[in-house]
Point group: C2
Chain length 407, copies 2
């Protein structure tokens, strides 16, 4: 597997476009299109929130139906959540507009929305936006990047990556884009992430690969503990690589899932590190666990703690808060066995041995904690399993962004 | 039942004291004593965090043993958590010092600590502090209030209340004090809360009254989702009121639990409203629920959401975040049935009907949300049960306080 430049347009046969439709934002793009020349098999994972946005319900029905998917229309600014029947009607209208503009069936159009909850979409602007997207689409890397920018809300940077593997002499490409920032605490999957591949692969194999990988990637990040109403990961495969079909249980499937994981973990970490107001990506790594589940529970509890996150914002080695967060996670362990370390590109330092502080240098710890990527490593000495979770620091800017998000 | 002035010294036979022992803070008191002339039956509830502070383990053992309790020694500044065997040794030393100074058995001394995790107590200062406390104790209301001040960490105000009931012609008094502020998300009980009563009541009845009431009071508040290592509620009854014994299932027991609830809910709300950096007490009230448990789960999820809390900080009627938080709570309900209201002393306004926005005035909503006490009321129209949870807004000052708490 190799990482290559590009995002959703890197795989053969995929095109993208973006446009400024003035859905809510002014002076920036806010609609994106991902289009495949060939109908795709589609896999998806969606929010577990009981409150599901209209486009989530639309996509879930589409993916479950097994019908081919040929386009994804995304808008930022308004989430189309808590919008009742009117919201579902706007999904249908958006799909119809895309179908007419692209010359494809309306029931092959997937949708994505992100932004304010409770407000209705300005459907005329959406329709005009869809027409502009259909006119502007092409398969360039640039258009993929512009699409990744258009789906941003409070994100500070676009998030995209592509990877290639060889399958019996054919190059198979996977590329993806995602957006995150706030209301990020995925459960089952996450915010908006769109992955494209030109692989020949069955819908079942595609869904299995996606469902298993989100558990260790998007589901292991948290910005603020709030599971969104709109979380969506869509993975589209159009078969343009003309490889021999990738089947579950083969080395090709392993290579495919490895490349997919690389894309997903990269996008998930980018989302965590670009959390609203964040200045640092904070990884919690639990090692020496008895089970993977135990390691995941402990790691996620650490990155979700407001107190841990404010300590990271202050570059303060307040390790007691990490112990506290592990303690209320629900997982069993012996706090008096835990060795804790902090690590970043400034070095690695041991903080506790068997649950109590070793005589470490606070200055060195602060230096390590002042880097843009920080890892806390907790060895709980119960076995050989491990897991990582990713979050960010909690800063003034998170409050600033969210105290008056709607105005 | 009537509310009366005072706190832990209001009930007959109880004394209190405070002193500046320089445990960690300078220029303020940081140790408190609650003492009863008569040995007390004791009830307690403690943190469910796997990481339990040394004083929590000490008190739990003491309460479980059924031995009488005659004094509680509390320090702020250092939590004596994650301190290993050395921490337990300091508990024993503190109890011994109190026993010597007060002329009571060491195994009748309960302990409480709050503050930084991981640091060892300066035991010589603790010993000197205990001696000063023993010298200074008396039964005045003022000394009770000073004790409530001494146990504060980042709290901005002391928290105390007392209530009286009549039991067969005898006045029975209950009084309490508590501290909260950060790392507040009690599970089973909360931070530090000490309640005294002169009632004649059995240990079993006392524990039942306490255990049942914490579920609807301390366990329904959250400042930051972090369940502390030190959460403790102790309820001491010394029998000095000489009332006929209060027995479970009698009208007297009802009156006693009602008064106890009044104290607990008052202290719990004071803790929520005085959360670190908070400018408002935020109550979430879920009505029309099918079960009490469902109402509690939904209400607590609303007050725990960082996004809801930042919206309250911004006086922004961002109701979608409330729906979102209810949606990921784990409780089932139909979002398309929910009527949502905001209420404060500035009035009451309906925001949604059957899950979608009604045409409400944003200005009026902002006015209502700019008060120091705000309630969100969600009617989920499934039954007749209801529950409240209490939290606070999330502000710059929470970050400021916690980003560098230890320095």
């Amino acid at each position: 597997m190799k990482i290559v430049e590009g995002g959703v347009t890197k795989a053969k046969g995929f095109e993208a476009a973006s446009t400024a439709a003035k859905i809510k934002y002014e002076g920036r793009t806010d609609m994106a299109l991902v289009y495949s020349e060939i109908p795709c098999v589609a896999a998806g994972t969606f929010t577990t929130n009981v409150v599901k946005a209209a486009p989530v319900r639309w996509d879930r029905q589409l993916v479950d139906s097994g019908r081919p998917v040929q386009a994804v229309v995304v808008n930022s600014g308004i989430a189309n959540a808590c919008t009742g029947e009117e919201g579902m009607y706007y999904c249908e209208e958006t799909a119809k507009a895309a179908a007419a503009a692209l010359g494809i069936p309306a029931d092959s159009v997937a949708l994505g929305s992100t932004g304010e909850i409770g407000r209705q979409l300005p459907i005329d602007r959406i329709r005009a936006g869809v027409e502009a997207l259909a006119r502007k689409k092409d398969g360039t890397i640039e258009n993929g990047t512009l699409a990744a920018k258009a789906i941003m809300t409070t994100d500070t940077t676009e998030k995209e990556l592509a990877a290639q593997i060889e399958v019996n002499g054919k190059t198979v490409t996977i590329g993806g884009m995602a957006k995150g920032s706030g209301m990020i605490h995925p459960n089952m999957c996450t915010m908006l992430s769109f992955i494209t591949t030109d692989a020949v692969i069955s819908k079942e194999a595609l869904q299995k690969a996606l469902s298993e990988d989100v558990q260790n990637t998007y589901n292991m990040i948290s910005v603020d503990g709030d599971t969104s109403t709109n979380d969506t990961v869509l993975l589209l495969a159009n078969g343009a690589a003309q490889n021999e079909e990738i089947k579950v249980g083969t080395p090709d499937y392993e290579a495919f899932t490895e490349a997919l994981h690389e894309i997903n973990v990269y996008l998930a970490k980018k989302i965590a590190g670009d959390g609203e107001g964040a200045t640092a990506l904070f990884e919690a790594k639990v090692i020496g666990a008895k089970t993977k589940e135990q390691a995941k529970t402990l790691a996620k509890s650490i990155v979700c703690s407001d107190l841990t996150k404010t300590a990271i914002a202050g570059h303060d080695a307040n390790w007691g808060r990490i112990f506290c967060a592990m303690g209320y996670s629900g997982a069993q362990f012996d706090p008096e066995k835990v060795d804790l370390f902090f690590e970043s590109r400034a070095g690695k330092i041991q903080i506790t041995e068997d649950g109590t502080a070793v005589g470490y240098s606070e200055e060195k710890a602060t230096e390590i904690l002042s880097q843009p990527e920080i890892t806390a490593i907790a060895d709980i000495k119960m076995g050989t399993e491990e897991a990582s979770a990713w979050g960010c620091d909690l800063t003034y800017d998170y409050i600033k962004i969210n105290a008056d998000y709607r105005s």
